[in-house]
Amino acid sequence: MTAHRQRTPPLLAVKGLRVEFPTRRGTLTAVRDVSFEIAPGEVLGVVGESGAGKSLTGAAVIGLLDPPGRIAAGQIHLAGRRIDNLPYEAMRRIRGREIGAVFQDPLTSLNPLYTIGRQLVETITTHLPLDARAARDRAIGLLEEVGIPAAGRRFDHYPHQFSGGMRQRVVIALALAANPKLIIADEPTTALDVSIQMQIIELIKRLTRDHGTAVMLVTHDMGVIAETCDRVAVMYAGRMVEIGPVADVIHRPLHPYTVGLMGSIPSLTADRERLTQIDGTMPRLDAIPQGCAFHPRCPQAVPRCRRERPEPVAVGASDVACWLRRN
């Protein structure tokens, strides 16, 4: 992004990130020119529709892009240290120790054959210089902290003995095991019922407050973003079209795509006869239009939008990539 408005040096700085997938029919670019920063203790939401590149951006940061996907350009710095070009072993030590991960389906993050206690202790002893006894104490402490009742007894239970919401709590405990500075949470509440979803959101908020952990929260649910995040980035067709403070992006969106996205969400409080409709669909990766990728669906597109790609510029407290916002 062009302007830095954060007072503290960023914990995570992503510059010009480009993620490519080489295929037999040519190279697909799933994420292009994505730049953003996360301050210590900040919760950044990344929102967008399926295929916008939000999950891949998270996977690139944590070094878990599925092959043949790869980072083709750009740099990722964590607390001042470049991490996108590290060898596999070095990155593996950073994962878990400095960056924790929480994914949508807690069952895929947990090994069904081991008790959750064993999985926690293993993660703790991998990253922290603790003996078995101290690791067990820390594991039980973590389970209590994420709100698992009777943690001492549940320690020896297997993942299938937990409900969905409790499993997601265990996954969060695992992500916190080594006290990382950053947590990447990819749709952490999508598989859960609303009452459980709210418990998990409250948990994430409390953890950022108590530990100063920064969170990159990837989700398609603007409601979750509104409740949880300090800032939000909106992605469309592999690019970040708008990033700014959460209240600005939700109540005073600048990019026509963000405007349409906000208008298409049914509200619990406002009455509307019709929802705003963005006609058409997001382009496929092999057919991203010239110029601004949103122009074929944009009600305000001008000739320039078809020719030239807008770069993000600062407007108020946000950065937005749209020709209409240039003076």
Binding site: E49, S195, M198, Q199, I250, S264, P266, S267, L268, T281
Partner: protein, 352 residues
Amino acid sequence: MPAPLPPLVQLSDVARTFDVSPPWLERAIGRQPKALLQAVAGVDLTIARGETLGLVGESGCGKSTIARLIVGLHAPTRGTITFDGTPLAGHGAAQTDPATSRALRRRMQMIFQDPYASLNPRWRVADIVAEPILALEPEAAKGDVRRRVAALLEQVRLAPEDGRRYPHQFSGGQRQRISIARALSTQPEFLVCDEPTSALDVSVQAQVLNLMRDLQQRMGLTYLFISHNLAVVRHIADRVGVMYLGRIVEVAPARQLFARPRHPYTRMLLDAVPDLAAAGRRRVAVAGEVPNPLDPPAGCAFHPRCPHAADRCRSEIPVLRPVAGGGEAACHAVLEGRLPVPPPAAVAAPPA
């Protein structure tokens, strides 16, 4: 005003139990009893002509089972389902002659959640949309069917030429519109929609919701709209029923239900939904989870999580009763007046 017509769909004391026991031998060896899951436990529900009834609740509350009972994919264990005044399933349905019953069934169709699983990938879209027509009118002329399919595709804002393509060539939203075209092909009056937009992105969801509303106005359709997304239900429904563990705990006009929820479970659900306008509001943390439906709590199923539970709630199952100000609630605390009526729009806190 003319005399009110009978409701289009009526459920009286409908229940459905599923046998989820382990296999016989395992049960015999382990001396385990049969495990019976009561997915729907005595539901009374009416749907008036031309209205949209929303049904909300968390996973496992029985809302999809109700959809399947109404369209006849399950038979009720107890109770009666009538359509346009004629018993269709359950008690009394045996007296309805099969031809009448078939004719009634044609007047209802269903739209499913997953537009990837509900369309046959090896059929062309035109054949998918034509299938219900050919099933019900095997003697229909080919040219006539083709014309009707083209008109149906246009109705859901697809091109008639799209009929030659296969489902995989369409996006999720377009596939859901193909499902709607297929459901409309027999000119039904009543559509049962089970989470029709849950698999879609929000902008695509808006396209489908707007389309469903247009079709309803144009064709006078009646909808049963099932969703776990409260904001979507508020947008589309005229009346809303809230389910918890197989029972309806509250039913009221949509606006009223969302502005003045009466049942403690409805209040809890509404408080838990993340909403754009309500960012930063303080909320009461929701405790606990939905109990195991194989072993539901005695009395009101919600009492272990309810902040207003009293002794009576732990022993006696509350039934739906009209409450002051319209709507019905199944809650001892509400009916005894122990629970104050919330001020209007208590949930609609303005953004800070």
